[in-house]
Symmetry: C2
Subunit: 265 residues, 2 copies
DNA sequence: CGTACCACG
DNA sequence: CGTGATACG
Protein backbone atom coordinates (compact mmCIF):
# COMPACT_ATOMS: atom_id res chain seq x y z
CA UNK A 1 0.00 0.00 0.00
CA UNK A 2 1.21 3.45 -0.89
CA UNK A 3 -0.79 6.61 -0.27
CA UNK A 4 0.40 9.80 -1.94
CA UNK A 5 -0.94 13.32 -1.48
CA UNK A 6 -0.01 16.33 -3.55
CA UNK A 7 -0.90 19.95 -2.92
CA UNK A 8 0.16 23.38 -4.09
CA UNK A 9 0.44 25.24 -0.77
CA UNK A 10 0.76 28.75 -2.28
CA UNK A 11 3.42 29.83 0.23
CA UNK A 12 4.23 27.31 2.93
CA UNK A 13 4.71 30.02 5.57
CA UNK A 14 1.28 31.49 4.91
CA UNK A 15 -0.29 28.02 4.74
CA UNK A 16 1.26 27.10 8.08
CA UNK A 17 -0.39 30.12 9.68
CA UNK A 18 -3.77 29.06 8.35
CA UNK A 19 -4.00 25.36 9.12
CA UNK A 20 -1.51 23.41 6.98
CA UNK A 21 0.10 21.69 9.97
CA UNK A 22 -3.28 20.70 11.40
CA UNK A 23 -4.18 19.27 8.01
CA UNK A 24 -0.86 17.41 7.83
CA UNK A 25 -1.31 15.92 11.28
CA UNK A 26 -4.56 14.38 10.06
CA UNK A 27 -3.03 13.23 6.78
CA UNK A 28 -2.59 9.46 6.50
CA UNK A 29 -0.38 9.52 3.40
CA UNK A 30 3.04 7.94 3.11
CA UNK A 31 4.27 10.67 0.79
CA UNK A 32 3.23 14.33 0.52
CA UNK A 33 4.33 16.38 -2.48
CA UNK A 34 4.27 20.15 -2.06
CA UNK A 35 4.43 22.88 -4.69
CA UNK A 36 4.85 26.64 -4.38
CA UNK A 37 6.68 26.38 -1.09
CA UNK A 38 7.98 29.91 -1.79
CA UNK A 39 10.61 29.75 0.92
CA UNK A 40 14.05 28.42 1.63
CA UNK A 41 14.42 25.91 4.41
CA UNK A 42 16.08 28.52 6.61
CA UNK A 43 12.97 30.71 6.40
CA UNK A 44 10.75 27.97 7.81
CA UNK A 45 10.21 27.17 11.45
CA UNK A 46 11.60 23.80 12.53
CA UNK A 47 8.07 22.43 12.96
CA UNK A 48 7.11 23.39 9.42
CA UNK A 49 10.44 22.44 7.87
CA UNK A 50 10.53 18.93 9.37
CA UNK A 51 7.16 18.01 10.80
CA UNK A 52 7.43 15.26 13.43
CA UNK A 53 7.32 11.84 11.78
CA UNK A 54 8.35 13.05 8.34
CA UNK A 55 11.51 13.26 6.28
CA UNK A 56 11.50 16.41 4.16
CA UNK A 57 13.41 17.26 0.99
CA UNK A 58 13.26 20.69 -0.61
CA UNK A 59 14.09 22.12 -4.01
CA UNK A 60 13.78 25.90 -3.65
CA UNK A 61 13.94 28.30 -6.57
CA UNK A 62 17.01 30.47 -7.05
CA UNK A 63 14.66 33.48 -7.08
CA UNK A 64 13.57 34.17 -3.52
CA UNK A 65 9.90 33.75 -2.74
CA UNK A 66 9.13 31.98 -6.02
CA UNK A 67 8.03 28.44 -6.86
CA UNK A 68 9.80 25.77 -4.79
CA UNK A 69 8.80 22.12 -4.44
CA UNK A 70 9.24 19.60 -1.64
CA UNK A 71 8.52 15.98 -0.82
CA UNK A 72 7.70 14.68 2.64
CA UNK A 73 8.10 10.96 3.23
CA UNK A 74 7.42 8.80 6.25
CA UNK A 75 10.57 6.79 5.60
CA UNK A 76 13.92 8.07 4.46
CA UNK A 77 14.12 8.12 0.67
CA UNK A 78 16.76 5.96 -1.02
CA UNK A 79 17.73 8.80 -3.36
CA UNK A 80 16.77 12.39 -4.09
CA UNK A 81 17.22 14.29 -7.35
CA UNK A 82 16.58 17.94 -8.11
CA UNK A 83 15.60 19.04 -11.61
CA UNK A 84 15.12 16.91 -14.69
CA UNK A 85 18.20 17.77 -16.70
CA UNK A 86 17.05 20.94 -18.46
CA UNK A 87 19.63 23.60 -17.54
CA UNK A 88 17.09 26.45 -17.65
CA UNK A 89 14.94 24.78 -15.01
CA UNK A 90 17.65 23.24 -12.86
CA UNK A 91 17.36 25.87 -10.10
CA UNK A 92 13.76 26.83 -10.80
CA UNK A 93 12.26 25.02 -7.81
CA UNK A 94 9.96 23.09 -10.11
CA UNK A 95 10.98 19.45 -9.99
CA UNK A 96 12.14 17.11 -7.23
CA UNK A 97 12.22 13.34 -7.33
CA UNK A 98 12.63 10.82 -4.54
CA UNK A 99 13.20 7.09 -4.81
CA UNK A 100 11.26 4.85 -2.49
CA UNK A 101 11.41 1.06 -2.68
CA UNK A 102 9.99 0.13 -6.06
CA UNK A 103 8.63 3.58 -6.82
CA UNK A 104 9.92 7.02 -7.79
CA UNK A 105 7.69 9.89 -6.67
CA UNK A 106 8.15 13.41 -8.05
CA UNK A 107 6.81 16.80 -7.07
CA UNK A 108 6.27 19.01 -10.11
CA UNK A 109 5.35 22.67 -10.42
CA UNK A 110 4.94 23.42 -14.09
CA UNK A 111 5.21 27.15 -14.85
CA UNK A 112 2.01 29.09 -15.15
CA UNK A 113 1.75 31.24 -18.23
CA UNK A 114 -0.09 34.15 -19.69
CA UNK A 115 -0.80 34.37 -23.39
CA UNK A 116 1.32 36.96 -25.16
CA UNK A 117 3.91 37.23 -22.40
CA UNK A 118 7.39 35.74 -21.94
CA UNK A 119 5.96 33.57 -19.17
CA UNK A 120 3.94 31.64 -21.73
CA UNK A 121 7.11 31.04 -23.75
CA UNK A 122 8.80 29.79 -20.60
CA UNK A 123 5.91 27.44 -19.92
CA UNK A 124 6.20 26.07 -23.45
CA UNK A 125 9.95 25.60 -23.16
CA UNK A 126 9.37 23.69 -19.92
CA UNK A 127 6.77 21.48 -21.57
CA UNK A 128 9.02 20.82 -24.53
CA UNK A 129 11.93 19.80 -22.31
CA UNK A 130 9.84 17.88 -19.81
CA UNK A 131 8.01 15.45 -22.10
CA UNK A 132 11.16 13.68 -23.31
CA UNK A 133 12.22 13.39 -19.69
CA UNK A 134 8.89 11.79 -18.78
CA UNK A 135 9.35 9.31 -21.61
CA UNK A 136 12.88 8.53 -20.46
CA UNK A 137 11.78 8.21 -16.85
CA UNK A 138 9.08 5.74 -17.73
CA UNK A 139 11.48 3.66 -19.78
CA UNK A 140 14.15 3.72 -17.08
CA UNK A 141 11.62 2.77 -14.43
CA UNK A 142 10.31 -0.09 -16.57
CA UNK A 143 13.83 -1.29 -17.26
CA UNK A 144 14.62 -1.31 -13.54
CA UNK A 145 11.36 -2.94 -12.56
CA UNK A 146 10.22 0.28 -10.95
CA UNK A 147 7.20 2.54 -11.20
CA UNK A 148 7.01 6.34 -11.30
CA UNK A 149 4.44 8.84 -10.14
CA UNK A 150 4.59 12.50 -11.13
CA UNK A 151 2.51 14.59 -8.75
CA UNK A 152 1.91 18.27 -8.82
CA UNK A 153 0.53 21.38 -10.35
CA UNK A 154 0.69 20.92 -14.10
CA UNK A 155 -1.07 24.24 -14.75
CA UNK A 156 -3.10 22.76 -17.60
CA UNK A 157 -6.69 21.56 -17.61
CA UNK A 158 -6.85 18.64 -20.03
CA UNK A 159 -10.47 18.50 -21.15
CA UNK A 160 -13.67 20.47 -20.98
CA UNK A 161 -14.70 18.53 -17.88
CA UNK A 162 -11.58 19.76 -16.14
CA UNK A 163 -12.69 23.37 -15.65
CA UNK A 164 -15.95 25.12 -14.99
CA UNK A 165 -15.93 27.73 -17.75
CA UNK A 166 -14.15 25.97 -20.59
CA UNK A 167 -15.75 28.09 -23.32
CA UNK A 168 -14.60 31.36 -21.82
CA UNK A 169 -11.12 29.96 -21.26
CA UNK A 170 -10.36 28.57 -24.70
CA UNK A 171 -7.91 31.38 -25.35
CA UNK A 172 -6.39 31.47 -21.89
CA UNK A 173 -3.19 29.91 -20.70
CA UNK A 174 -3.98 26.67 -18.93
CA UNK A 175 -6.55 25.59 -21.49
CA UNK A 176 -4.89 26.38 -24.81
CA UNK A 177 -5.21 23.75 -27.57
CA UNK A 178 -1.44 23.26 -27.65
CA UNK A 179 -1.29 22.78 -23.89
CA UNK A 180 -4.14 20.30 -23.94
CA UNK A 181 -2.50 18.47 -26.85
CA UNK A 182 0.73 18.28 -24.90
CA UNK A 183 -1.08 16.69 -21.93
CA UNK A 184 -2.66 14.25 -24.38
CA UNK A 185 0.84 13.22 -25.44
CA UNK A 186 1.83 12.70 -21.77
CA UNK A 187 -1.25 10.53 -21.33
CA UNK A 188 -1.13 8.85 -24.73
CA UNK A 189 1.20 6.36 -26.37
CA UNK A 190 4.18 8.67 -26.28
CA UNK A 191 4.18 9.23 -22.50
CA UNK A 192 2.19 6.28 -21.39
CA UNK A 193 1.15 7.85 -18.11
CA UNK A 194 -2.27 7.62 -16.50
CA UNK A 195 -4.13 10.49 -14.85
CA UNK A 196 -5.25 8.36 -11.94
CA UNK A 197 -7.93 10.70 -10.58
CA UNK A 198 -9.63 10.80 -14.00
CA UNK A 199 -9.17 7.05 -14.41
CA UNK A 200 -11.20 6.45 -11.27
CA UNK A 201 -13.69 9.24 -11.95
CA UNK A 202 -14.16 9.14 -15.71
CA UNK A 203 -17.62 10.63 -16.02
CA UNK A 204 -17.78 13.64 -13.76
CA UNK A 205 -16.95 17.29 -14.06
CA UNK A 206 -13.80 17.98 -12.08
CA UNK A 207 -13.06 17.28 -9.35
CA UNK A 208 -11.46 20.71 -9.47
CA UNK A 209 -8.22 21.27 -7.58
CA UNK A 210 -7.77 25.04 -7.88
CA UNK A 211 -10.07 28.02 -7.40
CA UNK A 212 -8.90 31.58 -7.94
CA UNK A 213 -8.89 33.79 -4.87
CA UNK A 214 -10.59 36.45 -6.95
CA UNK A 215 -14.32 36.93 -6.77
CA UNK A 216 -16.43 34.06 -5.42
CA UNK A 217 -14.68 31.33 -7.39
CA UNK A 218 -14.45 28.92 -4.47
CA UNK A 219 -18.00 29.43 -3.22
CA UNK A 220 -19.36 28.95 -6.75
CA UNK A 221 -17.00 26.03 -7.41
CA UNK A 222 -15.63 27.88 -10.42
CA UNK A 223 -12.50 25.76 -10.42
CA UNK A 224 -9.92 24.08 -12.59
CA UNK A 225 -8.47 20.58 -12.36
CA UNK A 226 -4.80 21.32 -12.92
CA UNK A 227 -3.20 19.22 -10.16
CA UNK A 228 -2.62 15.64 -11.20
CA UNK A 229 -0.97 12.41 -10.21
CA UNK A 230 0.38 10.81 -13.37
CA UNK A 231 1.37 7.17 -12.93
CA UNK A 232 3.27 4.63 -15.01
CA UNK A 233 1.11 1.71 -16.16
CA UNK A 234 2.02 -0.79 -13.46
CA UNK A 235 1.32 1.75 -10.74
CA UNK A 236 -1.85 3.02 -12.37
CA UNK A 237 -3.24 -0.52 -12.26
CA UNK A 238 -2.78 -0.57 -8.51
CA UNK A 239 -4.83 2.58 -7.93
CA UNK A 240 -7.65 1.86 -5.48
CA UNK A 241 -8.93 5.30 -4.60
CA UNK A 242 -8.33 8.85 -5.75
CA UNK A 243 -9.88 11.99 -4.36
CA UNK A 244 -9.61 15.73 -4.08
CA UNK A 245 -9.96 17.16 -0.60
CA UNK A 246 -11.98 20.33 -1.19
CA UNK A 247 -12.03 22.45 1.98
CA UNK A 248 -15.42 22.57 3.68
CA UNK A 249 -15.52 26.37 3.63
CA UNK A 250 -13.63 29.38 2.48
CA UNK A 251 -12.62 29.99 6.10
CA UNK A 252 -10.99 26.56 6.32
CA UNK A 253 -8.89 27.05 3.19
CA UNK A 254 -5.16 27.38 3.71
CA UNK A 255 -4.32 27.42 -0.02
CA UNK A 256 -6.04 28.20 -3.30
CA UNK A 257 -5.40 24.56 -4.31
CA UNK A 258 -6.84 21.41 -2.75
CA UNK A 259 -4.84 18.28 -1.85
CA UNK A 260 -5.10 15.37 -4.29
CA UNK A 261 -4.77 11.98 -2.59
CA UNK A 262 -4.36 8.59 -4.24
CA UNK A 263 -4.17 5.17 -2.60
CA UNK A 264 -2.21 2.51 -4.46
CA UNK A 265 -2.41 -1.16 -3.59
CA UNK B 1 -9.34 80.75 19.75
CA UNK B 2 -7.52 78.42 17.37
CA UNK B 3 -6.86 74.76 18.11
CA UNK B 4 -4.40 72.94 15.88
CA UNK B 5 -3.53 69.25 15.87
CA UNK B 6 -0.70 67.63 13.95
CA UNK B 7 -0.01 63.93 13.48
CA UNK B 8 2.07 61.70 11.27
CA UNK B 9 -0.47 59.03 10.29
CA UNK B 10 2.05 56.58 8.75
CA UNK B 11 -0.24 55.72 5.84
CA UNK B 12 -3.69 57.26 5.96
CA UNK B 13 -5.34 54.17 4.49
CA UNK B 14 -3.87 51.92 7.17
CA UNK B 15 -4.67 54.47 9.89
CA UNK B 16 -8.27 54.67 8.71
CA UNK B 17 -8.62 50.91 9.16
CA UNK B 18 -7.34 51.14 12.72
CA UNK B 19 -9.25 54.04 14.23
CA UNK B 20 -8.14 57.32 12.64
CA UNK B 21 -11.69 58.36 11.72
CA UNK B 22 -12.98 57.58 15.21
CA UNK B 23 -10.15 59.69 16.61
CA UNK B 24 -10.96 62.50 14.17
CA UNK B 25 -14.63 62.48 15.09
CA UNK B 26 -13.62 63.14 18.68
CA UNK B 27 -11.09 65.80 17.71
CA UNK B 28 -12.11 69.34 18.65
CA UNK B 29 -9.40 71.09 16.62
CA UNK B 30 -10.03 73.75 14.00
CA UNK B 31 -7.09 72.56 11.92
CA UNK B 32 -5.54 69.10 11.58
CA UNK B 33 -2.16 68.72 9.87
CA UNK B 34 -1.33 65.24 8.56
CA UNK B 35 2.00 63.81 7.49
CA UNK B 36 2.89 60.56 5.74
CA UNK B 37 -0.48 60.27 4.07
CA UNK B 38 1.17 57.87 1.59
CA UNK B 39 -1.73 58.00 -0.85
CA UNK B 40 -3.19 60.11 -3.59
CA UNK B 41 -6.67 61.48 -3.06
CA UNK B 42 -8.07 59.01 -5.60
CA UNK B 43 -6.80 56.10 -3.48
CA UNK B 44 -8.79 57.25 -0.45
CA UNK B 45 -12.41 56.52 0.30
CA UNK B 46 -14.67 59.56 0.19
CA UNK B 47 -15.12 59.41 3.96
CA UNK B 48 -11.38 59.46 4.57
CA UNK B 49 -10.61 61.98 1.82
CA UNK B 50 -13.17 64.55 2.98
CA UNK B 51 -14.44 63.72 6.44
CA UNK B 52 -17.81 65.31 7.13
CA UNK B 53 -17.39 68.83 8.46
CA UNK B 54 -13.86 69.31 7.13
CA UNK B 55 -12.21 70.91 4.14
CA UNK B 56 -9.19 68.87 3.06
CA UNK B 57 -6.16 69.86 1.00
CA UNK B 58 -3.51 67.36 -0.04
CA UNK B 59 0.06 67.54 -1.27
CA UNK B 60 0.99 64.00 -2.34
CA UNK B 61 4.50 62.95 -3.32
CA UNK B 62 5.32 62.27 -6.95
CA UNK B 63 6.57 58.84 -5.84
CA UNK B 64 3.55 56.66 -5.13
CA UNK B 65 3.08 55.52 -1.55
CA UNK B 66 5.68 57.91 -0.14
CA UNK B 67 5.46 60.91 2.15
CA UNK B 68 2.46 63.15 1.43
CA UNK B 69 1.05 65.89 3.67
CA UNK B 70 -2.44 67.27 4.11
CA UNK B 71 -4.32 69.92 6.07
CA UNK B 72 -7.92 69.60 7.25
CA UNK B 73 -9.73 72.79 8.20
CA UNK B 74 -13.20 73.42 9.54
CA UNK B 75 -13.58 76.48 7.36
CA UNK B 76 -12.45 76.89 3.79
CA UNK B 77 -8.89 78.21 3.64
CA UNK B 78 -8.31 81.58 1.98
CA UNK B 79 -5.28 80.23 0.09
CA UNK B 80 -3.32 77.00 -0.29
CA UNK B 81 0.31 76.62 -1.34
CA UNK B 82 2.30 73.44 -2.03
CA UNK B 83 6.04 73.34 -1.46
CA UNK B 84 8.30 76.09 -0.21
CA UNK B 85 10.13 77.07 -3.35
CA UNK B 86 12.94 74.52 -3.39
CA UNK B 87 12.66 72.76 -6.77
CA UNK B 88 13.97 69.45 -5.42
CA UNK B 89 11.18 69.26 -2.86
CA UNK B 90 8.36 70.79 -4.87
CA UNK B 91 6.66 67.45 -5.57
CA UNK B 92 8.02 65.64 -2.55
CA UNK B 93 4.78 65.68 -0.55
CA UNK B 94 6.57 67.36 2.32
CA UNK B 95 5.15 70.86 2.68
CA UNK B 96 1.68 72.37 2.39
CA UNK B 97 0.54 75.74 3.66
CA UNK B 98 -2.96 77.13 4.14
CA UNK B 99 -3.98 80.66 4.95
CA UNK B 100 -6.67 81.17 7.53
CA UNK B 101 -7.74 84.61 8.74
CA UNK B 102 -4.70 86.10 10.45
CA UNK B 103 -2.72 82.87 10.50
CA UNK B 104 -0.84 80.65 8.08
CA UNK B 105 -0.71 76.97 9.11
CA UNK B 106 1.67 74.53 7.46
CA UNK B 107 2.02 70.75 7.47
CA UNK B 108 5.65 69.68 7.23
CA UNK B 109 7.22 66.27 6.79
CA UNK B 110 10.95 66.73 6.95
CA UNK B 111 12.86 63.82 5.37
CA UNK B 112 14.13 61.14 7.69
CA UNK B 113 17.74 60.22 7.20
CA UNK B 114 20.27 57.54 7.91
CA UNK B 115 23.88 58.37 8.54
CA UNK B 116 26.16 57.43 5.68
CA UNK B 117 23.38 57.15 3.12
CA UNK B 118 22.08 59.47 0.39
CA UNK B 119 18.92 59.93 2.44
CA UNK B 120 20.93 61.81 5.07
CA UNK B 121 22.27 64.11 2.37
CA UNK B 122 18.74 64.71 1.18
CA UNK B 123 17.64 65.54 4.71
CA UNK B 124 20.47 68.05 4.98
CA UNK B 125 19.64 69.63 1.65
CA UNK B 126 16.05 70.00 2.82
CA UNK B 127 17.16 71.62 6.07
CA UNK B 128 19.47 73.97 4.24
CA UNK B 129 16.75 75.10 1.86
CA UNK B 130 14.01 75.20 4.46
CA UNK B 131 15.56 77.49 7.08
CA UNK B 132 15.78 80.53 4.78
CA UNK B 133 12.17 79.92 3.84
CA UNK B 134 11.16 79.86 7.51
CA UNK B 135 12.96 83.17 8.00
CA UNK B 136 11.25 84.67 4.97
CA UNK B 137 7.87 83.32 6.08
CA UNK B 138 8.20 84.87 9.47
CA UNK B 139 9.18 88.22 8.02
CA UNK B 140 6.37 88.15 5.46
CA UNK B 141 3.85 87.21 8.12
CA UNK B 142 5.06 89.98 10.41
CA UNK B 143 4.95 92.49 7.54
CA UNK B 144 1.37 91.50 6.75
CA UNK B 145 0.26 91.47 10.36
CA UNK B 146 -0.10 87.72 10.25
CA UNK B 147 1.21 84.79 12.28
CA UNK B 148 2.55 81.45 11.10
CA UNK B 149 2.56 77.97 12.58
CA UNK B 150 4.66 75.16 11.14
CA UNK B 151 3.34 71.80 12.30
CA UNK B 152 4.67 68.42 11.55
CA UNK B 153 7.26 65.73 11.75
CA UNK B 154 10.61 67.46 11.81
CA UNK B 155 12.50 64.17 12.28
CA UNK B 156 14.91 65.77 14.75
CA UNK B 157 14.93 65.59 18.54
CA UNK B 158 16.26 68.92 19.77
CA UNK B 159 17.68 68.22 23.21
CA UNK B 160 18.51 65.33 25.50
CA UNK B 161 15.08 65.63 27.11
CA UNK B 162 13.51 65.00 23.71
CA UNK B 163 14.33 61.30 23.45
CA UNK B 164 14.64 58.44 25.87
CA UNK B 165 18.09 57.12 24.96
CA UNK B 166 19.98 60.21 23.97
CA UNK B 167 23.41 58.77 24.76
CA UNK B 168 22.95 55.79 22.49
CA UNK B 169 21.58 58.00 19.72
CA UNK B 170 24.27 60.67 19.56
CA UNK B 171 25.55 59.25 16.29
CA UNK B 172 22.16 58.50 14.76
CA UNK B 173 20.17 60.55 12.33
CA UNK B 174 17.53 62.51 14.20
CA UNK B 175 19.88 63.46 17.02
CA UNK B 176 23.09 64.45 15.24
CA UNK B 177 24.84 67.59 16.52
CA UNK B 178 24.36 69.34 13.19
CA UNK B 179 20.65 68.53 13.14
CA UNK B 180 20.20 69.75 16.71
CA UNK B 181 22.16 72.90 15.89
CA UNK B 182 19.90 73.49 12.90
CA UNK B 183 16.80 73.26 15.11
CA UNK B 184 18.48 75.70 17.50
CA UNK B 185 18.75 78.14 14.61
CA UNK B 186 15.03 77.70 13.81
CA UNK B 187 14.26 78.38 17.46
CA UNK B 188 16.89 81.07 18.00
CA UNK B 189 17.35 84.60 16.74
CA UNK B 190 17.71 83.54 13.14
CA UNK B 191 14.35 81.78 12.86
CA UNK B 192 12.55 83.30 15.76
CA UNK B 193 10.10 80.43 16.13
CA UNK B 194 8.87 78.94 19.39
CA UNK B 195 8.46 75.21 20.06
CA UNK B 196 5.16 75.71 21.85
CA UNK B 197 4.93 72.28 23.48
CA UNK B 198 8.35 72.77 25.07
CA UNK B 199 7.49 76.35 25.99
CA UNK B 200 4.56 75.12 28.05
CA UNK B 201 6.38 72.06 29.40
CA UNK B 202 9.92 73.28 29.95
CA UNK B 203 11.09 70.90 32.65
CA UNK B 204 9.95 67.45 31.69
CA UNK B 205 11.32 64.61 29.60
CA UNK B 206 9.35 64.42 26.39
CA UNK B 207 6.47 64.36 25.88
CA UNK B 208 7.52 61.93 23.16
CA UNK B 209 5.60 61.89 19.91
CA UNK B 210 7.04 58.86 18.15
CA UNK B 211 7.82 55.30 19.21
CA UNK B 212 9.36 52.76 16.86
CA UNK B 213 7.20 49.78 16.01
CA UNK B 214 10.22 47.59 16.68
CA UNK B 215 10.60 45.83 20.02
CA UNK B 216 8.62 47.17 22.96
CA UNK B 217 9.40 50.84 22.34
CA UNK B 218 5.85 52.02 22.93
CA UNK B 219 5.22 49.92 26.04
CA UNK B 220 8.53 51.09 27.55
CA UNK B 221 7.94 54.69 26.39
CA UNK B 222 11.21 54.57 24.50
CA UNK B 223 10.19 57.49 22.35
CA UNK B 224 11.40 60.58 20.57
CA UNK B 225 9.88 64.04 20.46
CA UNK B 226 10.24 64.83 16.78
CA UNK B 227 6.80 66.29 16.00
CA UNK B 228 6.54 69.98 16.76
CA UNK B 229 4.37 73.01 16.36
CA UNK B 230 6.68 75.96 15.71
CA UNK B 231 4.99 79.33 16.10
CA UNK B 232 5.91 82.91 15.25
CA UNK B 233 6.27 85.14 18.33
CA UNK B 234 2.83 86.71 18.34
CA UNK B 235 1.16 83.31 18.03
CA UNK B 236 3.46 81.68 20.59
CA UNK B 237 2.35 84.27 23.12
CA UNK B 238 -1.23 83.18 22.67
CA UNK B 239 -0.53 79.52 23.43
CA UNK B 240 -2.77 78.35 26.28
CA UNK B 241 -2.34 74.62 26.25
CA UNK B 242 -0.17 72.10 24.44
CA UNK B 243 -0.28 68.35 24.72
CA UNK B 244 0.64 65.07 23.13
CA UNK B 245 -2.11 62.50 22.89
CA UNK B 246 -0.31 59.27 23.64
CA UNK B 247 -2.60 56.30 22.89
CA UNK B 248 -3.75 54.45 25.98
CA UNK B 249 -2.49 51.11 24.72
CA UNK B 250 -0.64 49.52 21.88
CA UNK B 251 -3.97 48.10 20.67
CA UNK B 252 -5.46 51.59 20.38
CA UNK B 253 -2.60 52.94 18.30
CA UNK B 254 -3.38 53.73 14.69
CA UNK B 255 0.07 55.26 13.94
CA UNK B 256 3.57 55.10 15.32
CA UNK B 257 3.29 58.85 16.04
CA UNK B 258 0.94 60.59 18.49
CA UNK B 259 -1.15 63.69 17.74
CA UNK B 260 0.23 66.99 19.06
CA UNK B 261 -2.50 69.49 19.93
CA UNK B 262 -2.10 73.16 20.79
CA UNK B 263 -4.78 75.65 21.82
CA UNK B 264 -4.11 79.31 20.97
CA UNK B 265 -6.10 82.16 22.44
C1' DC C 1 -7.31 38.46 -4.16
C1' DG C 2 -3.46 36.57 -1.88
C1' DT C 3 1.75 35.51 -1.05
C1' DA C 4 5.68 36.81 -1.55
C1' DC C 5 9.56 40.61 -2.45
C1' DC C 6 11.54 45.31 -1.70
C1' DA C 7 12.32 50.24 -0.04
C1' DC C 8 11.44 53.12 3.52
C1' DG C 9 10.92 54.38 8.12
C1' DC D 1 7.85 45.92 12.81
C1' DG D 2 4.72 48.08 9.89
C1' DT D 3 3.11 50.55 5.37
C1' DG D 4 2.80 50.49 0.74
C1' DA D 5 4.94 49.32 -4.11
C1' DT D 6 5.67 45.57 -7.21
C1' DA D 7 5.78 40.82 -9.42
C1' DC D 8 3.59 36.77 -9.71
C1' DG D 9 -0.21 33.93 -9.80
Amino acid sequence: MLTVTSVNVNGLRAAAKKGYLEWLSGCAADVVCLQEVRAEEAQLTEEVRRPAGWHARYAPAAARGRAGVAVLTRREPDAVRVGFGAPEFEDAGRYLEVDLPGTTVASLYLPSGEVGTPRQDEKERFMEAFLPYLVKLRAAAAGGGREALICGDWNIAHREADLKNWRANRGNSGFLPEERAWLSRVLGEEGGYTDVVRALHPDQDGPYTWWSYRGRAFDNDTGWRIDYQMATPGLAERCLKAEVERAASHAERWSDHAPVTVVFD
